[in-house]
Subunit: 448 residues, 2 copies
């Protein structure tokens, strides 16, 4: 049965010149894109103008000399997003903050501030920091995977609890009488958990959307469980429709077990769009020309425990690696090996294909639009986050070429609502104390 078309939601990932590791060399982007204020402001304005729903800022807490260009030198997400509150009006502002290396009281305040500064447009992408090196920047032990997710679960609980410190109508602010607030509507949290002890109250009120939207990005089993239990939306990295559907099913199951609506799913995409297939191929080849063989092989090695691929003939067949690659990147390494065998790729071809996949979103505007619709119709996505490969080009192509097709098909229209919850159709979380009071009053009324 064909579903009724629903508006596809769209985010834009602000990450340097774009998701492609050498996007900074593209002739149309500033070489310092990852720390270029004007670049981000312009993208933010363009995205809002085009009607996109939110901006999304990723993050990382550890670099070394091998890190990708846009990781080496970038703005901290909260600072960047706060700076964009003044140049935008309706677009959401979501940013990544780690629950493994921060304090819930401070993070609750900073996000609530962003939410109030933006008039209800803040989102928090909860991550647990996978890189063990992060720990060395914070003088702590790196918690193991499962524990990181337990910490994250409790952390979100604390932050959402602090966000309930002030009821909606707690501030009276009557100039005449001098009454500033109602002390009955100010609440301490008094949280005492396994990982956190936080008294509260928080020193900032609710925003136009009540509380910031919670994003989550973990694809592991623990990540899916956390998302199902706590998130309003998830950012995923699915490369194929099948992968995306599998993830959606798992998330749905876990949400059902947690007694919640499943969060909206937002796969990151790197479309390469040309008026014709030949034009798309031309763009693809131009991007490949920005990447040296050495870089492509080095990048490939990252997925295979930093294996040195430069020892092989690049134009020979993809080498037999045996067990190598059975690590945390296994879904990628399996795919690389399978593709190399099936399509008889040389090492050079496999390396370039890994560094810059063509993927499902390569082709003409019509093809890309069809794919976006198919993913949504098949229940694999509520929307997408545009990650690159090169941000300004991808945003222009989507806006100019793809959105008109989606609009004609009923999957797109300009939504001028201004809180992030409204745009993503996520209900406001009522304040827990207000809710309890209103339940009590209802009970009293029905007892009469």
């Amino acid at each position: 049965m064909k579903q009724t078309p629903r508006r596809i939601k769209l985010g834009l990932m602000l990450q340097g010149a774009g998701g492609f590791m050498n996007a900074w060399r593209h002739h149309r982007v500033p070489v310092d894109a990852s720390v270029n204020v004007s670049w981000y402001r312009q993208l933010a304005r363009q995205a809002e103008e085009a009607g996109l729903d939110f901006l999304f800022v990723a993050d990382g807490l550890h670099i070394n000399e091998k890190s990708l260009p846009h990781f080496l030198n970038r703005f901290e997400p909260l600072a960047l997003l706060s700076s964009l509150t003044a140049v935008t009006q309706r677009i959401g502002l979501a940013g990544t903050i780690s629950t493994s290396y921060s304090d819930p009281f401070t993070v609750a305040r900073q996000l609530a501030s962003l939410d109030l500064l933006s008039n209800g447009r803040a989102g928090w992408n909860v991550v647990t920091s996978p890189l063990a090196g992060s720990a060395r920047n914070f003088g702590r032990e790196h918690p193991e995977h499962g524990q990181r997710y337990q910490i994250a679960g409790e952390y979100i609980e604390v932050v959402q609890g602090l966000w309930d410190s002030w009821e909606e109508d707690a501030f009276i602010r009557d100039r005449q009488s001098g009454v500033f607030f109602d002390a009955n509507k100010l609440h301490k949290l008094n949280h005492q958990g396994e990982h956190f002890t936080v008294e509260g109250p928080l020193n900032i009120q609710r925003s136009a959307q009540g509380q910031p939207v919670i994003f989550q990005a973990g694809a592991s089993e623990s990540g899916i469980r956390l998302a199902a239990a706590s998130a309003d939306a998830v950012f995923t990295n699915a490369r194929t429709l099948e992968e995306a559907q599998h993830y959606a099913t798992r998330l749905q199951q876990e949400a059902q077990m947690a007694g919640r609506q499943p969060p909206g799913i937002f796969p990151g995409i790197n479309p390469i769009i040309g008026a014709t297939l030949a034009e798309a191929e031309e763009k693809y080849q131009y991007l490949l020309s920005l990447l040296s063989l050495e870089q492509a092989l080095d990048y490939l090695g990252r997925f295979f425990d930093h294996h040195d691929f430069s020892q092989y003939d690049p134009d020979g067949p993809f080498p037999d690696l045996g067990e190598l690659g059975q690590n945390s990147f296994r879904s990628t390494t399996d795919q690389v090996k399978r593709q190399a065998t099936e399509e008889n790729l040389t090492l050079r071809e496999a390396a370039y294909r890994t560094a810059l996949p063509k993927g499902d979103f390569f082709g003409t505007p019509q093809q890309v639009a069809e794919t976006l619709i198919r993913w949504v119709e098949q229940g694999a996505a509520s929307g997408f986050i545009l990650c690159g490969p090169v941000l300004n080009e991808a945003l222009e192509d989507i806006t100019r070429l793809v959105l008109p097709i989606l609009e004609a098909r009923g999957y797109w229209y300009q939504d001028d609502r201004s809180t992030l919850r409204e745009r993503l159709e996520i209900p406001v979380r009522p304040n827990r104390y207000t809710q309890a009071r209103s339940r009590l009053q209802q009970a009293e009324r029905s007892a009469c």
Copy 2:
């Protein structure tokens, strides 16, 4: 010997409606000033237009139902200042962050981000969080006073070390060759101290002013020593010229012992200015009318270990309190007692005088200008931070009535330089590795 006039530097404290506890009731300010984005944007633009040097955001990490209105509900400083980067161009952006309840890696990143987003206008007001209640929001013990300052000293060292991670010319960004950076100009900090272990490097480059300016606000002996050893500027609360001079002398002594130039001194001021003295008095009486006797007595009690002053006849003489008040507010409590005796004040008068002192900056524009000049000439200040009592009124009065007098006397002109260091005449901190390399090269040259 008369000194040559030097430009007086001016900051504006963004703190709700202003430093006066009931400023929110003033008919010319929005009742929600402390979380009103438009209010802050407008003050920021007006201050920049008037040629002020910086905005300054205070902070606190603990509230309860007794807290002052502008503390109960306010923006976190980093978020607020970042949001102001987009609506200002030249004015400095300084904010308070506690070294007792945060991580140096995150704080270094956020401040460096603010500095880069604002093109070299960031300042950090280092505080150690006096309120023990803060600890309960972070699930830790509250370090005792001396230890807090030791932690702060090491913390600043770590942050400044992280800010040196990338040398000035580390980023090559050659589109043609594909070389993004020079790995020789990227440095790990590898700090292992008593309180912090931080590896680095930081994932963000230097700004137009190299590193953010360090403010410090502690007036205790430990505070003065920390300021002398680490700060570029200090924010003080001196009420009289004598107090300010005494502080300046102590700071100078400590700076000399630390082998540094003494930091610039910025007393916070709450001027009440009228075209005539009668007009100033009228303003003062209007402000007093916004404060109930109950609030004034309660406020007075805060300095005397929450003593209940409502038990006395408000129109009787100031009560004999014996030892009460020999606490950490002693300089205030001594002054209250002395003034009450000397001027034969009733309790009511003493309470109102404490909640809203007239102070040294009460009077006609000519008188206030003379006082500002006197403080600077007597070495008690390099400039001032305008704190209230009501921000928009004080800013307008200073701009419209006082600055022209200062200008005519040679103590003021519009400075259009755009980094905070330039405006405050604080030299750029050279990158330690660049400096070491250049010393080595010099030594090699002279050895030839």
